[in-house]
């Protein structure tokens, strides 16, 4: 019952908000239309959140069939899909609550909630689908709705959205090929039937089938080297939407990967047929993951736009999930799946904070901001908690999942993949410091002197997400319990967790002790601090300047080209990235070919008549030749 509501509610929300958008379409009434839509969205997504949690009781039972073109579209809930359904429902609700105040009613976003509802419908459909055909159809719905969602906003967003569409359509076509390949080999679309049939197949067929389903998943998860669609698409979208997309939409690819590897056709089958002394299938995936971690993270280091910087990290963090899950060890899979949750919480927190700054200053350019900590302390704290999570520093939740992945990699004998994970973490620390420094620290430019903190409608979601990032860091057992259930349901060894970390037989980690000792350390430091003399707060122009006097006419700041030394080292690789060059060459080739194709359509009626005559002649010749 609740499972079917997960599909009906977003669809109903889509229709009602579409009606609201059409009934009050004129731009002068944009405000009224927006208010109605916000009301519908608030109610609808709250209900969806409730039903997502009610649906936990229906895991594994109650398959739902809907007749579709003479076939049956089957839906059902598994442990794995429930984990993702709960995340989709949760983060969508928080995004919508944030947007109630964060979204300006200036008429540009008139279909914002319409596409948000339909996108949620597509994602939940993918997660719930129990056969290949439904999976494919829902996949297409999801991709197109992402495209429409990306289109909400200014001109640049529309072009970037088109770039996404090229990749999404490619992924969809490969998935369709995979679907047909399986259907012709097995004669059924049902996941369980396919899985049963596949264990008896030969190596070639297993490899082809796995490639055809895994490549679309990797494109959706923006794995290296098919990641170029993501940064421009997400960075140009409305900030709330980029938070939502980066947090969960990209991770549907991780869901598909996990399902196909462990619930679908089995990594074991794949490893069996590709096993040799040097490399196996899961190691190939891990290497892809390692590149996905390192390259985008170091690209992020040199971005000048807060949102663009974060979108590169969103790709890089996906690498951790791929590596963890592909390692196919208990700790690694647990770490990879837990990382999906952690990434969702802190990346949305960071982007909410960026949105709060953008709301007041109107820019996300890192070279123009600075010193905002005095004006927007809540947004600053949100960003601080978020980056500590993103960098994987205790006591926030990002550390726990990264710890699981590192330990899995080291103990399973993959030292260089583990090193890649560490290098990516270091790159993350460097770039997130640049992010927080250039936005909130350093000198406050004169033009931002009158800025105020954003309203409570935006502050509360930020504060709520801060609490989530910290508390799931101190009590990771709450989420690890669900992860352990997933591992159990997939027939894997579940992780031995405790409320505060990982149980002793699988390593030593107790986040609560770390929290307590940290608080103790802070207290002792405060005692020492307090023992010193009284402190006095001074202004930013009361500063050391080697004998000069500072005033507001003198820019006294360091933020442009923040890591000059690193820029020097990576100069060549960064300014001519090989993947981008390959993509540009392909684009030039395609547009060159299109130019030739275009010449066929001259617009001259006699030419077209000549084509018709020529075609008739060719057909007659072919038919005549046949006789």
């Amino acid at each position: 019952m609740s499972t079917s509501m997960l599909l009906i509610l977003p669809l109903a929300g889509f229709l009602t908000s579409l009606a609201a958008a059409w009934i009050v379409p004129a731009s002068s009434k944009a405000r009224a239309s927006g208010t109605v839509q916000k009301f519908i969205a608030g109610i609808g997504f709250t209900a969806l959140f409730v039903f997502a949690f009610l649906a936990k009781g229906e895991i594994g039972t109650g398959y739902l069939g809907i007749p579709l073109f003479g076939l049956w579209a089957n839906f059902g809930l598994t442990q794995l899909s429930w984990y993702f359904v709960a995340m989709v429902a949760g983060i969508t609700l928080v995004t919508v609550l944030f947007s109630l105040q964060g979204l300006r009613d200036d008429g540009r976003y008139s279909f914002y909630y319409v596409w948000l509802f339909s996108k949620t419908f597509g994602m939940l459909g993918v997660l719930l689908s129990a056969d290949m055909l439904t999976f494919f159809i829902m996949w297409e719905v999801m991709s197109w709705c992402t495209y429409f969602l990306l289109q909400q906003g200014h001109e640049k967003a529309k072009r970037a959205g088109a770039g996404y569409l090229v990749y999404a359509v490619t992924a969809g076509m490969i998935l369709l090929a995979g679907l047909l390949y399986m259907y012709f080999n097995v004669g059924s679309f049902d996941f369980r039937t396919i899985q049963a049939a596949f264990s008896g197949f030969d190596a070639g067929r297993i490899i082809v089938a796995m490639l055809l389903v895994l490549v679309p998943m990797l494109i959706e998860a923006a794995a290296y080297p098919v990641h170029w669609w993501l940064p421009s698409a997400y960075a140009n979208a409305e900030t709330g939407i980029s938070a939502y997309l980066a947090a969960i939409s990209t991770r549907i690819g991780i869901y598909g990967m996990t399902m196909f590897l462990f619930a679908g056709f089995g990594l074991t089958a794949l490893n069996l047929v590709t096993a040799n002394k040097y490399v196996s299938a899961n190691e190939v995936l891990m290497i892809i993951g390692a590149f996905t971690m390192v390259v985008p993270t170091f690209t992020a280091l040199f971005q000048h736009d807060a949102k663009e910087l974060m979108t590169w990290h969103s790709i890089g963090q996906g690498g951790y999930m791929i590596v963890g899950i592909a390692s196919s060890t208990t700790l690694g899979i647990a770490g990879g799946l837990f990382h999906v949750f952690n990434h969702m919480t802190y990346v949305s927190l960071i982007l909410f904070s960026i949105a709060a700054v953008e709301y007041r200053t109107g820019t996300t350019n890192l070279n123009k901001l600075g010193g905002l900590i005095k004006k927007q302390p809540v947004a600053y704290l949100g960003l601080l908690f978020g980056i500590i999570g993103l960098a994987g520093i205790p006591p926030m939740n990002g550390f726990v999942s990264k710890w699981l992945i590192y330990r899995a990699l080291i103990l399973s004998g993959h030292p260089f993949i583990a090193l890649a994970a560490f290098i990516a973490t270091l790159g993350t620390i460097l770039s997130v410091y640049k992010l927080i420094h250039n936005m909130f620290l350093g000198q406050l430019p004169e033009r931002y002197n009158d800025i105020k903190e954003v309203g409570w409608g935006m502050r509360l979601p930020i504060i709520f997400m801060m609490a989530v990032v910290w508390l799931t860091g101190a009590f990771p057992g709450t989420v690890l319990a669900v992860v352990a259930d997933i591992q159990q349901s997939l027939g894997l060894e579940p992780i031995a967790y405790s409320a505060h970390g990982v149980a002793a037989e699988m390593g030593q980690l107790n986040m609560l002790v770390i929290n307590i000792v940290f608080i103790g350390g802070l207290f002792v430091s405060w005692l020492i601090y307090h023992a010193g003399g009284k402190r006095k707060h001074i202004g930013q122009y009361d500063n050391y300047a080697a004998g000069h006097f500072l005033d507001k006419s003198i820019p006294y700041n360091y933020n442009y080209n923040f890591y000059a030394g690193m820029d020097h080292i990576f100069e060549r690789a960064l300014h001519k990235p090989p993947v981008k060059r390959a993509e540009q060459a392909l684009a030039a080739f395609v547009s060159g070919m299109s130019e030739y194709v275009r010449r066929i359509f001259t617009g001259n009626i006699t030419t077209y008549a000549a084509y018709v005559v020529a075609a008739v002649v060719v057909i007659l010749l072919v038919l005549g030749g046949g006789r």
Partner: protein, 302 residues
């Protein structure tokens, strides 16, 4: 370990490490003075410096983050300290392994970076930019050496690694058993301790002491205290990983001073690298050494 002795250790441990830090700091200044044919200050000069700074009447700060950062700096260092096992006190090691320690070590750096950022002084920001780039420089080879050792012994627990070395005697010491890893980590340690030729962060002649530019009074005093604790802490990491840990405090102190003498001797004869040269040195010399060591271990296992 009884509750009483645990409480005594928890209180005494940072104080003992601070005293050792004072001696190490005084020794460094005495050592460099003698190399330069000066008499040099007293052996406990760092202690007098701390007392002087902490009793200053003027303590200016640029805002709340500046204040909180100082607490994060010292609090984070104390937090890390408890997880590092020393002879007789290993209670907290059961709650966190070496991976935890290496990430806890980042909390003080982050705290300092945030506080310095709020001081709105470009010299400070440049210092932090350099510090973080240096971090990426030395941490990569250092972590790889640890990965190698952990993979060899199939544990990430620092305590286990110490026990394995002590059980095997001198020939099982990390530096002897995996010389490539030991040397690579030694070079990285030089960078971690901000000694020449990797002393790019403070660089008094270039950027007005970098992160410390706007720090004065008790703020600078707490930074001094943190530094005096961090030096023995980071040396202990190396001793535990590569010099067989220590079974008694005497052995521990001897190893500390021998290692420290080696590092400050190198410090005395070098100038300062440029930032990108320092990072490149770590990645081109120290990292390949560690990688070779790890490949050797992998071949051994397989």
């Amino acid at each position: 370990m009884s509750t009483l002795s645990l409480v005594v250790w928890i209180i005494a441990y940072p104080i003992i490490i601070f005293c050792i830090g004072v001696l190490l700091g005084g020794y460094e200044r005495k050592f460099s003075a003698r190399v330069e044919r000066r008499i040099g200050p007293s052996w406990i000069q760092p202690f007098y410096d701390v007392i002087k700074l902490m009793s200053k009447k003027t303590n200016v700060s640029h805002g709340y983050m500046h204040d909180v950062a100082i607490l994060m700096l010292l609090g984070g260092t104390l937090l890390t300290l408890y997880f590092v096992p020393v002879p007789g006190f290993t209670y907290f090691s059961q709650f966190g392994d070496f991976l935890v320690i290496s990430y806890l070590l980042l909390i003080p750096s982050l705290g300092m970076a945030l506080g310095v950022g709020e001081t709105a002084n470009p010299n400070g920001s440049i210092g932090i930019s350099r510090a973080l780039q240096m971090l990426a420089g030395y941490e990569v080879p250092f972590i790889l050496t640890f990965i190698g050792v952990a993979m060899k012994e199939q544990t990430t627990s620092m305590l286990d690694i110490i026990h394995i070395q002590q059980a095997g005697g001198f020939w099982a010491w990390g530096l002897i058993a995996h010389p490539l890893l030991g040397v690579a980590a030694l070079i990285a340690l030089q960078g971690m301790l901000n000694e020449k030729p990797f002393e790019v962060i403070v660089a008094p002649h270039e950027i007005a002491t970098g992160p410390m530019t706007e720090m004065g009074g008790k703020y600078l005093g707490i930074m001094f205290i943190q530094h005096l604790i961090a030096v023995p802490l980071e040396l202990t990491l190396y001793i535990n990983l590569f010099l067989g840990g220590a079974s008694s405090w005497l052995e521990y102190l001897v190893k500390l001073f021998v290692l420290w003498t080696a590092l400050i001797s190198v410090n005395m004869v070098f100038g300062r690298f440029r930032v990108d040269s320092a990072v490149k040195f770590m990645w081109k010399i120290s990292l390949p050494l560690a990688a070779l060591g790890v490949i050797g271990i992998m071949l051994n296992i397989a």
